[in-house]
Symmetry: C2
Subunit: 211 residues, 2 copies
Amino acid sequence: MGVKERKKRNAQKMRQRILKAAMDIFAKEGYEGVSMRRIADKIEYSPGTIYRYFESKCDIMLQLCYHGFERLLGLQFELDKITNPVERIKVEGRYYVTFALENPELYELMFATREIIKQPADAEESVARKSFGKFAEHVQQCIDAGFFSGGDPETLAVALWAALHGLSSLLIKDQLRFLPEERVGEVVERALAFNLRGAGKELAFTGSEFR
Amino acid sequence: MGVKERKKRNAQKMRQRILKAAMDIFAKEGYEGVSMRRIADKIEYSPGTIYRYFESKCDIMLQLCYHGFERLLGLQFELDKITNPVERIKVEGRYYVTFALENPELYELMFATREIIKQPADAEESVARKSFGKFAEHVQQCIDAGFFSGGDPETLAVALWAALHGLSSLLIKDQLRFLPEERVGEVVERALAFNLRGAGKELAFTGSEFR
DNA sequence: TTGACAAAATGAACGACGTTCACTATACTG
DNA sequence: CAGTATAGTGAACGTCGTTCATTTTGTCAA
């Protein structure tokens, strides 16, 4: 008698239904639009029911967040088709910024929302880390191929990632609004190129002054 | 009779009292801690009164935000004492990241909080823009001194700023937590150096593909 | 089929939030 | 001192995330 099993499946279905509803609202109306009552309305259950399947709203948003990282990671895996590692990392940069621009709310959720960040300390092997890991791998391959300086790959990866993240979040938040609309693409492209070129040189290490 | 004037002064005093209270709470308990009722409690007035002096909570937070930019701008002006433009921009980078790390909530308010961003579209000559302007000026001086490539200075400034912002926000959000504590400073310092070095070369422009 | 027990779902309630507004209290003026 | 303009009040509205006593539904042995 697979009663237990069926119940487990139903519970999983319910979790998916809730997440789907949350995602739909999130996609249409952003973070502000998502509330437990609205989710409950959408799936035609009472608000209290949701708490049988998720600990809190934060828990739900965290799942959406993971989903975002999985999408990003999916894009990254596609990149393995590109054989030239420099070309690959170039395209990866464009993918990254494009992903952020096309899913600004999601990107924000993934990288900026306070409550989300705190959570996954215990969630070992977080999707976020996998995504960075893949990126670092691609950076390493550039080094191996002799295109990037042999400096510490992790440092290089962090620096490049930071540049991508910086550009993406400035763009999303419209902090670059002072640029004429038609120049934005150009500036971004050049900024990316600029960072990749910077990776080509050996750097003198000047000592630690932070933290 | 300076009755009108005194009233104006009193209103200004009240605005300052409210802002001070908001800032105190913000500093101690962050964005989440600030509520109209808590501010009202702190200044010993009723919640409704605040609305005689500020349009909304958002309005208040926007003022805190401006205050933050003024502090940052103050740091930037100090930099004019440094005569070597490359040394100056190097220190500016460290100042920037340090400012973010020392005032994470404020930095977030300044650059990341959604509601804040929207507002100052009409507020011409925003403090934020002044801060970027000063930075761009310093970048220009590096170019003039022949240390940076002669490429479009605005692009260069945006690229460097993005890198600083990226590093800062990753650090604040603890996204670099996978790095051993003792390596963080090193990585940041090298990432900064890496970006400055990148600025030294002429870059081939590869065309626009964003937006 | 029925009755007992467990699981699932409910929705009112709690304390918080930003904001509004009819009202009262205070300060100023003629 | 009367009358008016200004300042301040605090209850109320509708929202939020969350909890929990209660009811409904589902399961299975007798």
